[in-house]
């Protein structure tokens, strides 16, 4: 029994609303007043949110096992025969269809919900900017792509959304395209993402030739069409021993897909585009580079969890990359001075956390953290936007300070978000982060240590940001200071709603150790069961209650320690951070220069690519142009010279020879042709006389005959 209902049957409307308004904006938006643009664009996202809510409600009405609704809109790629790697021939097809299950429910609600709030916020934030309609057109196009990504029922359609969000990310990072740094950052994001996308598309192809289908699951299709999904194919292959857990092809698929995830979700070594992406308007950073798009990699890995569960090596890679990313990015966030850059590195670090969770098999915890992170990181970015708005565009936290009383609503919501990301009980971040750390502890102690240190770093750099921005004396210019004002309600109301979500958002995953029942994990359970019964049980292994409480206390303690140290450093000035920096100058420089990763990439890859370009340019100039083009030209010229010589001396020569000969032979005769007709007349006369003289005896006969 598959769930049914109006909203489930009209899943396709959810992405369609923003697409329609995006198209409107890009075609006629220039002529619309700002009010109409706001109403249309924010309204369409609001509608999507309502439809998503309706669909999820109808999905929840079904029993947990049956909570999968799949609606195929039309056949996209018509069936064609394809030979699998096993040698079988199958009919391969891809449809344009939407899939709503617990996983995509979470994603679609986060995307439309947080997206809706950010759209409202943008009305206030972008109100005075040029290109208002363009901004909202791109934002809505992004919403369409993101919703296509999360609702897609097959990998290829997911890839369409994946590329769509990449495009919108590029467009929005480069929104202020007259600024060179902004358009450069857009290009960088696009190119780095392409590297990941190459892995992703190879993963899709390998999946297709291995399983003969790219549909995620055949469950939830209205008719029992017998069409297979990846999950079902995988299950059949494992049961028939065609594929064993840990098989090379599964590891290969998992790793290739993870390369795609590394690009999109900014993991080491492909994270470099995300800090630069802060060139975009702040709502863009909040929506795309914090709450939704960058989590697409996490979503994709969880979506393919059945394969990952059978590829332990790939999972280990995911965990290690995630752990490295989280601590690496957190350490860089320590010394950044741009308010948005701190948040960008924080986002990378938190994404690393999510991958750490996925790597240790805690898929539900990863998605849980994805959701709570969407709330508080969106709030942090919007708060930062509100601060920047108040500071007349200033982003350097060294020039802020003392804003607590001046912009109280922003400050209070920012404080809540800071506590949430630091993992203080009972804010949202505590539950999700604790869940991840607990699972990591069970899996591998070293991973837990890394996560634990990262938690401390996170608490420290977020508190540093918070104290430097809102406490102490104001370090801004006088005229900037005079203009500091609280943002309009369109901006503060979304902040407050997100602040509420940052407090209570984690409660749906209240852990069993604290007397809850972890509803969130149970909700996601059906799609995380895997194809083997045993792999499912590892994930929900529960450690002893005492140990769990102890772990919670430890992570709470480390977060508090981080906040306390930041307070001592930046608020009560117990000792100056400058002294610490002076004491470890090399370390400080290393961090401040972001481990020179950009420089290393420039030297190792960008410059090499340029060298290759120069080399190819020289090859082009010397070999292609020199030998090929110029050589051909020379040959043609040589040939035509030969031909000309032949023409001039042989063809024309023959003609001229004829003419000369005629001239020579006609030498005595031509003087007779004087052109004066009296001479002709004379000649006629002479000729007549000669004729008469010659024939005179005959003339005699003629005359006699006439008589």
């Amino acid at each position: 029994m598959t769930p049914a209902g109006y909203f489930l049957d009209h899943l396709w409307l959810i992405p369609l609303f923003p697409l329609v308004t995006a198209a409107l904006m890009l075609f006629i938006g220039r002529r619309l007043p700002n009010v109409a643009v706001s109403a249309l664009c924010v309204g369409s996202v609001g509608l999507s949110f309502l439809f998503a809510l309706g669909a999820v409600t109808q999905l929840l009405a079904a029993a947990p096992k049956n909570r999968v609704a799949q609606r195929i809109l039309f056949e996209w790629l018509t069936p064609g025969q394809m030979q699998l790697s096993s040698g079988h021939l199958v009919q391969f097809t891809a449809d344009w269809g939407y899939l709503l299950d617990p996983l995509s429910s979470v994603m679609v609600l986060v995307v439309t919900g947080v997206g809706f709030l950010i759209h409202i916020y943008s009305i206030g934030y972008m109100g005075h900017e040029g290109g208002y309609y363009r901004f909202f057109g791109y934002m809505n196009l992004f919403m369409f792509s993101m919703l296509t990504l999360v609702l897609a029922n097959n990998m290829l359609l997911m890839f369409v959304g994946w590329e769509g969000v990449g495009l919108c990310s590029y467009l929005l990072i480069g929104f202020y395209f007259l600024k060179k740094s902004a358009s450069d950052a857009g290009k960088k994001a696009f190119i780095v993402n392409r590297i990941g996308d190459a892995g992703f598309i190879l993963g899709i192809l390998l999946t297709a030739v291995t399983f003969g289908t790219i549909r995620f699951t055949s469950q939830g299709l209205p008719d029992a069409s017998g069409a297979s999904g990846i999950f079902q194919s995988l299950k059949a292959a494992v049961e028939s021993q065609a594929l064993i857990p840990g098989a090379t092809v599964l590891t290969a698929i998992a790793l290739l897909l993870f390369i795609g995830a590394m690009g999109k979700s900014a993991q080491v070594p492909l994270y470099v585009w995300l800090p630069d992406a802060m060139e975009g308007p702040t709502p863009v950073s909040a929506l795309i580079h914090a709450a939704t798009m960058v989590t697409a990699g996490v979503y994709m890995v969880v979506r393919m969890n059945a394969i990952y569960q059978l590829a332990p090596f790939a999972l280990d890679v995911v965990a290690v990359i995630g752990a490295i990313t989280s601590i690496f990015a957190a350490s860089m966030a320590l010394v950044q001075n741009d308010i948005k850059k701190v948040l960008a590195y924080s986002t990378i670090s938190q994404l690393g956390y999510m991958f750490l969770a996925l790597g240790v098999g805690a898929f539900a915890a990863g998605i849980f953290h994805l959701m709570t992170h969407a709330f508080f990181k969106a709030l942090l970015f919007l708060g930062a936007g509100s601060v920047i708005h108040a500071m007349s565009g200033e982003q350097d936290i060294r020039k802020m300070g003392g804003l607590w009383d001046k912009i109280p609503n922003t400050a209070k919501t920012f404080a809540i978000a800071t506590l949430a990301i630091a993992g203080i009980f009972p804010f949202a971040g505590f539950f999700s982060k604790d869940e991840i750390l607990g699972q990591a502890f069970d899996r591998f102690f070293l991973l837990w240590i890394v996560g634990f240190i990262t938690a401390w770093l996170t608490a420290f750099y977020m508190s540093r940001l918070f104290f430097l921005t809102f406490f102490g004396h104001c370090r801004a210019d006088e005229h900037v200071e005079k203009h500091i004002h609280e943002s309009p309600r369109a901006m503060t109301v979304p902040l407050m709603i997100l602040a509420g979500l940052s407090i209570i958002g984690g409660w749906i995953g209240w852990p069993a150790a604290l007397g809850g029942e972890n509803r969130f994990e149970r909700f996601l359970d059906p799609i995380l069961t895997g194809v083997l019964a045993e792999t499912g049980t590892v994930r929900i292994a529960h450690h002893a209650l005492a140990k769990e409480i102890l772990l919670m206390a430890a992570s709470l303690g480390i977060a508090a320690a981080g906040i306390f140290l930041a307070y001592r450093f930046y608020c009560s000035k117990w000792f100056a951070p400058e002294l610490v920096a002076a004491k470890f100058p090399k370390l400080y420089r290393l961090l401040a220069n972001k481990y020179y990763v950009d420089e290393i990439y420039d030297a190792a890859i960008v410059d090499r690519t340029k060298d290759l370009g120069t080399l190819l340019g020289q090859f082009d100039a010397k070999v292609i142009d020199g030998v090929g083009v110029d050589g051909t030209g020379w040959l043609a010229r040589f040939g035509s010279t030969l031909s000309m010589w032949w023409d001039k001396w042989i063809i024309d020569g023959l003609l001229n020879f004829g003419a000369k000969l005629t001239q020579l032979l006609s030498f005595p005769v031509r003087f007779l042709q004087t052109g004066t007709f009296s001479s002709y007349a004379l000649l006629i006369l002479v000729g007549l006389a000669i004729l008469l003289a010659y024939y005179q005896q005959h003339l005699h006969v003629v005359l006699r005959g006439a008589r």
Partner: protein, 100 residues
């Protein structure tokens, strides 16, 4: 009745005068006039032989030649006027475009 030889000598004299005119004069109009003399020399011959033989065909030919001469004079003078308009000359030794 005069014998035929007189007529023939008159015709011969006229013909020779005409030929000399055609060959020696430079003015095209004079040349045309000389041609008329040649034609009339032929006419005299034709009429003389017609009388001699009592055959009227010769006189008919003479009439045709007079008509032809009129036509020739009209066309020839027209050509000369057109030529004069172009080259401003009626001297035949300057009309040497057909030279080699």
């Amino acid at each position: 009745m005069l014998p035929i030889g007189h007529y023939l000598f008159l015709g011969l004299a006229l013909f020779i005068i005409g030929v000399i005119g055609v060959v020696t004069r430079r003015n095209v109009i004079v040349i045309l006039m000389s041609i008329e003399l040649i034609l009339n020399a032929v006419n005299i011959n034709l009429v003389a032989f017609s009388r001699l033989y009592g055959d009227v065909a010769g006189q008919v030919f003479a009439l045709f030649i007079i008509a032809d001469a009129a036509a020739e004079a009209a066309v020839g003078l027209g050509i000369i006027i057109a030529f004069f308009r172009n080259r401003e000359t009626v001297l035949e030794d300057e009309m040497d475009l057909l030279k080699w």
